[in-house]
C-alpha cells in the first residue's frame, strides 16, 4: 500500500518560525521543535486567554507583560524573578497561579485548572522557552508569496535549440545548472493521449490519433490542442478540477445530510464558464459577489451570476447545531477558510482562535473578514434544523405558473371548506373526491427554480472572539482585508452593504500578489501532477518553496496580461518543449532529482477517479454524453439523503460523464472514494494518488469493469470479417491508443484460446463461451497499468 504525499519537515519548518522576528531568551538556546509545539499548543493559548488582558500589549498591570519573551524575562515591578530557572518552584509565576502566600493570587478571579498549572510548571521546567510569535512586521511579511509579482526576463541557456518558448528557458536553465538534460520529445501517440486526457479526461479515439499522425504540419499539435480546448468536454474536465477546490457537493454532509437539490446549477455554471474561457478575474468576481453586480455587468454572462455565489454557500454545515450563534460563526469560518485556500492559498481559518502561528494573519484580520460574511446572508434560518438561503431564479412565466397553481389550490380548498360542515351522503362523497383531487394537485406544485447562494445581510462589524468563542467577545474590528497584503491603510468599507463586492475586486486586482500565482500554479499542477509550488492550497510561510519562482511569476504576469485567459495559459504550457517531453527514465537524473522537480522528464501519472470511470465507459462504447441538469432525481431539495436509515438510494447506474454524477458527502460513490476523489468537504487542489488492494478488487470483480469489458468484447466480435489478431489490434488501439506488439497479439490470442477451453465445462453455447473468453481478456487489458496511466 503506497501513497505519495508531499512531506514537509516539521523540525525545519518550526525552526524557521522560531528564529523569526522577535528574539527568544537571549541566553537560551533556540527552542527545540518539541518546545515550540508544547508552547504553541499549551502555553501561549493559556497565557492569551487568562493573562494578556492585564499583562499584554494593551495593559501592563504591575509593569508585567507576558506576551513577549522580554516581558517574561524582565518580570514585574516587584523585582522578583518571574521564572526561576534553577529553582522552578520559587519563581513568582508558579507561586502566583498556585495562590501561594506572599504573592498576588493570579488570575485574581478564577484559579487556573490543575492541569493548566501543571502545564505551566512543565513549561518552567523546560526553561520557559518563549518562541517568537509571528507578527505582521519584520521578516514574515517579506515572505516571497506576499511580494508583488515580478516579470523577470528569461535566463540565458547553453542549449540554444531545445527551447520552444521562454517557459522552456526557465526550465532548461535549472536543468543545466544541475547538469541534467531534458528527456527526448514524446512520440506523437504518447503526446495525443497525454493531451487528450489532460484537457478532456477521455482517451483519444483511433480516428483522432490517425488524423494527428497524418498531419505533418509544424502546428499539428497546436491543432490538436485547439480542437480539445474547443470541445465541451474540456469544461467537464477542468470544471471538475475547480469543483475540487470549491468543495462542490450535492449534499450537506456532516450531521444532517440533506440534499443540495439546486447545487447542480453551480456545477453547470462552472463547466460553462470554463468552456467560454471566462476571464478568471470575472469568474471569481461572480462567485464572490455575483449577486451584487450591476444590471449591465450581469448581462455579460449567459448564466445568472447569482448562481455563481453558490461557491460561498456550498460548504458543509452543522445544521442541527443547537447553539445558533456558534453555527453562524462556524459557517462564516468555513467560507473564510475556503476563500482563503481556494483563491489565495492562505489558511485563514487558523486565525479564528489565535493570531496565525505561522502566517502573518492576526485575529483582527480574521474578524475583519468575518464581518464581511456576517453581513452577508447565507442562511434563511439558524433554527435547527437550519435552512440555507437560496436565490430565486423564477422568470415571470414561472411565477405565473405558480400563481395559477396556487389559485387552483385555493379554489379547491374553498370548495372543501364549504362542504366540511355538511353531513348528507352526496356531500360526503363529493368531499372525499375533492380532498383526493387536492392531494394530487398539491403534489404537482411547480417548484420555482432557485439556486444556493448568498445575498446581502445587515452590514455590521464583529468583535474578535477570544479563542474563537462567541461567549468571550473582545474588541470590535472594522470590516477590512488582511493587513499583510492589503496594507495598514485601507479605505473603510461602506456601511450600507457588506463589502463583499470590494473584497472580490480586491482579490481580483491584477496587483494582488497571490490570486494569479495560486491559479497558474493550480493549472500547472493539474497538467504535470505537481505544482511549481507543491503545496497548491497553501502559499503561506509553511508552503513549499517554488521550484521555479521566476517561471511562476512569468506565468502569472502573462495570465493577467492575456485577460486572465485559462485557454491561453493551457496553450502556453502545452506548446512548450517541457510539456512535450517523453517520460523516458534517466538513471542519473533519477538520483539527482527523484521527485522530478526540475522537469527532466514527463511524469507518469495515474488517471483520477472520474477519468478512470469515463475511460472504462468510453472504450466500451457505453459513455452517455448528455450534459448537465439536476444531479439528484430521486430526492427533492433539502430531503435527507438517508436520515437515520443508512439507506442511500442514490443511483450511480447512469452512464453519463462522472462530473454529472451526484456527489454525496459522507457517502461518496464508492468507486470515486476508492480512487482518491476528495470527500468534498474541504477545498482540495492536490488529490493524492494511492494504491490500495481494494482498487484492485474493483478491477477484478466490479460490475462496471465487467460490463465495460464485455461491451469492448462485443465491439471486436461484432466484426465477423476480421481475424483474432486484428481483434487484439483493435482492443489495444482503443485501450492504449497504440499499435499492438507481435508479442501482445500472440499472448492475448493464446489467452482467449485457453479461457475458451476452460469455459467448455461451464458454458455449453460456443458463441457465449467465446464472448466470455474475450471479455476476460478485455478486462485484463482494462485492469492493466497502461490503461490507467498517462506517460
Amino acid at each position: 500500500m503506497t501513497r505519495h504525499p508531499h512531506h514537509y519537515l516539521l523540525g525545519i519548518a518550526l525552526a524557521v518560525v522560531a528564529s523569526g522576528a522577535s528574539p527568544t531568551f537571549a541566553a537560551d538556546p533556540v527552542p527545540t521543535p518539541e518546545d515550540v509545539r508544547f508552547f504553541e499548543m499549551k502555553i501561549r493559548p493559556l497565557l492569551a486567554e487568562k493573562c494578556f488582558k492585564c499583562h499584554g500589549a494593551e495593559k501592563q498591570r504591575g509593569e508585567l507583560r507576558l506576551d513577549t519573551a522580554e516581558g517574561v524575562r524582565k518580570g514585574g515591578d516587584s523585582g522578583e524573578p518571574l521564572i526561576a530557572v534553577d529553582k522552578p518552584e520559587k519563581g513568582t509565576l508558579l507561586r502566583a497561579v498556585r495562590h501561594e502566600e506572599g504573592v498576588p493570587a493570579m488570575p485574581p478571579k478564577a484559579k487556573l485548572k490543575d492541569s493548566e498549572i501543571a502545564d505551566l510548571a512543565a513549561w518552567v521546567k523546560r526553561g520557559a522557552p518563549f518562541p517568537a510569535s509571528v507578527k505582521v512586521s519584520g521578516d514574515t511579511s517579506k515572505h516571497w508569496a506576499f511580494q508583488p509579482v515580478v516579470n523577470s526576463p528569461p535566463p540565458t541557456v547553453k542549449d540554444g535549440t531545445w527551447a520552444k518558448s521562454d517557459l522552456d528557458r526557465f526550465i532548461l536553465a535549472k536543468l543545466e545548472a544541475a547538469q541534467l538534460k531534458p528527456a527526448v520529445p514524446a512520440d506523437k501517440r504518447t503526446l495525443i493521449r497525454r493531451a487528450t486526457f489532460d484537457l478532456i479526461g477521455l482517451p483519444p479515439t483511433p480516428e483522432e490519433i490517425d488524423a494527428f499522425l497524418k498531419d505533418a504540419s509544424p502546428d499539428a499539435f497546436a491543432t490538436v490542442v485547439d480542437r480539445l480546448l474547443a470541445s465541451n468536454a474540456y469544461g467537464e474536465r477542468w470544471g471538475r478540477h475547480w469543483l475540487d477546490v470549491a468543495r462542490y457537493a450535492d449534499s450537506n454532509g456532516l450531521d444532517e445530510n440533506t440534499a443540495h437539490g439546486n447545487a447542480w446549477r453551480y456545477r453547470d455554471y462552472v463547466i460553462a464558464s470554463f468552456n467560454a474561457d471566462k476571464p478568471y478575474d470575472r469568474f471569481l468576481l461572480e462567485q464572490i459577489a455575483g449577486d451584487l453586480l450591476g444590471k449591465d455587468e450581469k448581462k455579460a454572462s449567459s448564466f445568472d451570476p447569482v448562481i455563481a455565489t453558490g461557491f460561498l454557500a456550498l460548504g458543509p454545515k452543522v445544521l442541527a447545531e443547537p447553539d445558533e450563534k456558534k453555527m453562524e460563526f462556524d459557517i462564516v469560518d468555513e467560507q473564510i477558510d475556503t476563500l482563503g485556500k481556494t483563491v489565495m492559498g492562505l489558511t485563514l481559518g487558523c486565525a479564528r482562535c489565535h493570531d496565525h502561528k505561522f502566517d502573518p494573519v492576526s485575529t483582527a484580520d480574521y474578524y475583519g473578514l468575518a464581518g464581511v460574511f456576517i453581513s452577508t446572508k447565507t442562511m434563511e434560518t439558524f433554527k435547527k434544523v437550519a435552512r440555507w438561503h437560496e436565490n430565486s431564479l423564477a422568470t415571470p412565466a414561472d411565477l405565473k405558473r405558480k400563481a395559477d397553481h396556487d389559485a387552483e389550490v385555493a379554489k379547491l380548498k374553498a370548495l372543501i371548506k364549504g362542504l366540511t360542515a355538511k353531513t348528507d351522503e352526496p356531500s360526503k362523497v363529493e368531499l372525499k373526491k375533492l380532498k383526493a383531487e387536492l392531494a394530487e394537485l398539491e403534489k404537482k406544485a411547480p417548484e420555482l427554480p432557485a439556486a444556493m447562494g448568498v445575498t446581502e445581510g445587515k452590514p455590521t462589524d464583529v468583535p474578535v472572539l477570544r479563542r474563537g468563542n462567541h461567549l468571550t467577545p473582545g474588541e470590535m474590528v472594522a470590516r477590512r482585508f488582511p493587513v499583510v497584503i492589503a496594507g495598514a491603510k485601507q479605505a473603510a468599507l461602506p456601511n450600507d452593504h457588506s463589502g463583499r463586492l470590494e473584497l472580490a475586486k480586491w482579490m481580483t486586482d491584477p496587483k494582488h500578489p497571490l490570486t494569479a500565482r495560486v491559479m497558474v500554479n493550480r493549472v500547472w499542477r493539474w497538467h504535470f501532477g505537481q505544482g511549481l509550488v507543491r503545496s497548491v492550497d497553501n502559499f503561506g510561510l509553511l508552503s513549499d518553496k517554488p521550484s521555479h519562482p521566476e517561471l511562476l511569476d512569468s506565468l502569472a504576469v502573462e495570465f493577467v496580461q492575456s485577460g486572465w485567459s485559462l485557454k491561453a495559459l493551457h496553450r502556453r504550457i502545452m506548446l512548450s518543449a517541457t510539456y512535450q517531453m517523453s517520460s523516458t527514465h534517466d538513471a542519473k537524473a533519477a538520483v539527482a532529482d527523484p521527485d522530478n522537480r526540475l522537469h527532466w522528464r514527463s511524469n507518469i501519472r495515474r488517471l483520477e477517479a472520474e477519468a478512470i470511470r469515463d475511460s472504462l465507459l468510453a472504450v466500451g462504447g457505453l459513455l452517455d454524453r448528455t450534459a448537465g441538469g439536476p444531479a439528484l432525481t430521486h430526492l427533492k431539495n433539502r430531503d435527507y439523503i438517508f436520515d437515520h436509515t443508512s439507506k442511500d438510494k442514490t443511483s450511480y447506474a447512469s452512464h453519463c460523464r462522472s462530473v454529472y454524477l451526484p456527489v454525496i458527502r459522507n457517502n461518496l460513490y464508492d468507486v470515486f472514494q476508492l480512487f482518491d476523489a476528495p470527500d468534498a468537504s474541504v477545498p482540495n487542489g492536490d488529490r493524492p494518488t494511492t494504491t490500495v488492494p481494494t482498487q484492485s478488487l474493483f478491477f477484478l470483480n466490479s460490475e462496471l469493469v465487467a460490463s465495460s469489458a464485455g461491451a469492448l468484447a462485443d465491439q471486436v466480435l461484432s466484426r465477423s470479417e476480421i481475424s483474432d489478431d486484428d481483434r487484439v489490434r483493435q482492443v489495444i488501439a482503443m485501450a492504449y491508443g497504440r499499435q499492438a506488439t507481435t508479442k501482445e497479439i500472440e499472448r492475448l490470442t493464446a489467452a482467449v484460446a485457453v479461457f475458451e477451453k476452460d469455459f467448455a465445462t461451464s458454458e455449453a453455447d460456443a458463441a457465449k463461451r467465446r464472448r466470455k473468453a474475450w471479455s476476460v481478456v478485455c478486462q485484463t487489458v482494462l485492469a492493466s497499468n497502461e490503461f490507467i496511466h498517462i506517460r
Partner: protein, 467 residues
C-alpha cells in the same frame, strides 16, 4: 525510498517469465498467505495490541444502565435543582427516576441495572468511566467528536489514527474494519482516513441499513471466474504490466500497483475466511446468542469482531444501530432501552467471555459507549423519555491493560454533569492511544501546513485507568 529495494526480485520474476503467455509460477508470484507480519513500532511499550469498539448509536442512558442515582429515585417528578446547560438539544421537564433496578455485582461490586444481566456477570473485568463528557448535544456533532475528535471539520477517524500509528499486522487484511456502520450522522467520516494515507481508512462490512448476513467487503467476490481462471487472468495481467514497466523504467507507483493485485487476490481469500462463521462450534454460537433471533444479529457482529481481532486487525468497530437511531429514546424509554439492551447484552458478555478464555482479552481493548448519555429529566408528555446529554455519561473498557473491576469518576447526584475526575472525549482518545503504546502528542500528521493530532490541542492520559 525503501520501496525500490523491496521489489527488484519481484520485477526479476516478472521479466524472466515475460516470454509468452506461460501462466507463470503463481506460487512465486502470489506468495500465499504467509506474508510477513509487519507493523510499525509504537512510541512505548503497549498494553494493548488492538481495539474492539462497541458503538451504541443514539446515546444509551447512563443513569439507566451503569450509573445509578438514588437521589433521582427520591426526587422523581421534582424540578432539577441545578443549573441546566446553556445549550440543550430539546426542552425537558422534571426529574425522571430510572424504571430499572440496580444491583451490585461481582467482587468489585460495580452496579449494573437489570437491563444488562449478562454484562453484569463480567463486571470484574470491566473498567467503568462514569465521568465522560463531550461538547456537542446533537447526534452528528457528538458522533463525529467521538470518532474523529472534531465535530465541524473532516478529520481522520480514531481507527484510522490507530492504523496509521501501528501499521498493519496482517498484510492480507485491512488494519481497520468497521462492521455495519451507520451512514447517518457523519457517515463515512466516522471511519474515513481524511488526510491520512488511504490504507488507514476503515473498510466497511455492510452498513446499518443492511442485514448483518450481507455484511461483506465491496467487490470481494468474483462472480464470473473460478479461482483457477482468475489466477490465469492475474498471470496475464502480470505479463502486460511487466512489459509496460520494462518500457517505462523503475517506478514505485507502477510496481506498487502490480503488488496490490497480489494482495487483493490474497484478501479475496482471507476476508471471506474471516467472515465465515460456519466452523464455529455450537457452544460458541450460543455464547454469542446466535441461537436466538433477537440477539443473533449483534451476536454475529461481535463474533465477526473476534474473528477479525484474532487475525490481527488493529481496530474493529461494531455498531449497534438499526434503521433508526437505535438508542435515542426521547420517548418510549422503557420499551426502547429494554429492546436495545436485550439485543446486545448477551453478545457483549459472550465476546468478553470468549476473549478471556482464549487469552486475547489481555491485549485486546474492548471499548463500549455511545455518542452521549441522556438527561435525568423527562422529555415529552409521556413521562417515558430522556433528551441527549453530553455533559456526563458512561463508557466502559475491558482488557487491553485497563484496571479490571474498577470505577472511575462520577456525575452529580442526579447524573446530569460529570463532576468528579472528569474525562473528556479527547482524554478518552489520549488514553486509548496510550494503551496502544502511542503518545497522542507525538502521533501527528502534517497536512495543509500544520501538524494534526487525534486530540487536536487537547487530551490528558488518564493513568489511573491503567492496570
Amino acid at each position: 525510498m525503501a520501496f525500490h529495494s523491496a521489489f527488484p526480485s519481484r520485477r526479476d520474476v516478472l521479466h524472466q517469465s515475460a516470454l509468452g503467455f506461460g501462466f507463470l509460477a503463481l506460487t512465486d508470484l502470489l506468495r500465499a498467505a504467509d506474508a510477513p507480519a509487519g507493523g510499525k513500532a509504537p512510541h512505548f511499550k503497549p498494553r494493548a495490541k488492538r481495539v474492539i469498539f462497541l458503538f451504541m448509536k443514539g446515546g444509551p442512558s447512563h443513569i439507566d444502565t451503569f450509573d445509578p442515582k438514588p437521589l433521582l429515585d427520591r426526587d422523581d417528578g421534582k424540578p432539577f435543582p441545578g443549573e441546566r446547560p446553556r445549550v440543550v438539544f430539546a426542552k425537558t421537564g422534571n426529574l425522571l427516576k430510572s424504571p430499572w433496578k440496580f444491583k451490585q455485582h461481582g467482587q468489585s461490586g460495580s452496579p449494573v441495572s437489570e437491563l444488562f444481566p449478562h454484562v453484569a456477570g463480567c463486571v470484574d473485568d470491566i473498567c467503568f468511566v462514569n465521568s465522560l463528557h463531550g461538547t456537542n448535544p446533537a447526534h452528528g456533532g457528538a458522533a463525529l467528536k467521538l470518532h474523529t475528535g472534531s465535530e465541524n471539520f473532516v478529520r481522520p477517524s480514531m481507527g484510522a489514527w490507530v492504523a496509521y500509528g501501528l501499521g498493519t499486522a496482517n498484510e492480507n487484511l485491512p488494519a481497520f474494519v468497521t462492521v455495519c456502520p451507520t451512514l447517518a450522522h457523519g457517515g463515512v467520516n466516522n471511519w474515513a482516513s481524511a488526510f491520512l494515507p488511504a490504507s488507514c481508512q476503515g473498510v466497511p462490512l455492510g452498513n446499518a441499513g443492511s442485514p448483518v448476513e450481507q455484511a461483506k467487503v465491496r467487490y470481494i467476490e468474483n462472480t464470473h471466474l473460478t479461482r483457477a481462471d482468475q489466477k490465469k487472468q492475474l498471470a496475464l495481467l502480470a505479463e502486460l504490466n511487466s512489459d509496460h514497466l520494462a518500457r517505462n523504467g523503475p517506478d514505485a507507483a507502477l510496481e506498487g500497483r502490480i503488488d496490490s493485485f497480489e494482495l487483493a487476490f490474497r484478501m479475496q481469500k482471507a476476508m471471506p475466511e474471516a467472515e465465515d462463521i460456519s466452523k464455529e462450534t455450537d457452544a460458541t454460537r450460543k455464547l454469542y446468542g446466535l441461537d436466538d433471533p433477537i440477539t443473533a444479529p449483534f451476536g454475529r457482529q461481535c463474533l465477526l469482531a473476534r474473528r477479525l481481532a484474532e487475525r490481527d486487525v488493529r481496530f474493529v468497530q461494531v455498531t449497534h444501530s438499526d434503521g433508526m437511531v437505535q438508542w435515542d429514546q426521547h420517548g418510549d424509554l422503557r420499551k426502547g432501552h429494554a429492546k436495545n439492551a436485550r439485543e446486545v447484552d448477551k453478545p457483549i458478555a459472550g465476546l468478553l467471555t470468549d476473549l478471556k478464555r482464549s487469552g486475547m482479552l489481555k491485549d485486546t481493548l474492548v471499548l463500549w459507549g455511545g455518542e452521549f448519555g441522556r438527561t435525568p429529566t423527562v422529555e415529552g408528555g409521556g413521562n417515558d423519555g430522556r433528551d441527549h446529554n453530553p455533559e456526563g455519561f458512561t463508557v466502559w473498557m475491558a482488557g487491553g491493560g485497563v484496571k479490571p473491576g474498577f470505577r472511575y469518576g462520577a456525575t452529580d447526584d442526579y447524573g446530569w454533569y460529570a463532576t468528579e475526575n472528569k474525562v473528556h472525549v479527547h482524554d478518552l482518545h489520549a488514553t486509548m492511544l496510550a494503551l496502544l503504546g502511542l503518545d497522542h502528542e507525538r502521533l501527528t500528521f502534517k497536512h495543509a501546513g500544520r501538524d494534526f493530532r487525534l486530540t487536536d490541542v487537547h487530551g490528558q492520559v488518564i493513568q489511573e485507568l491503567f492496570a
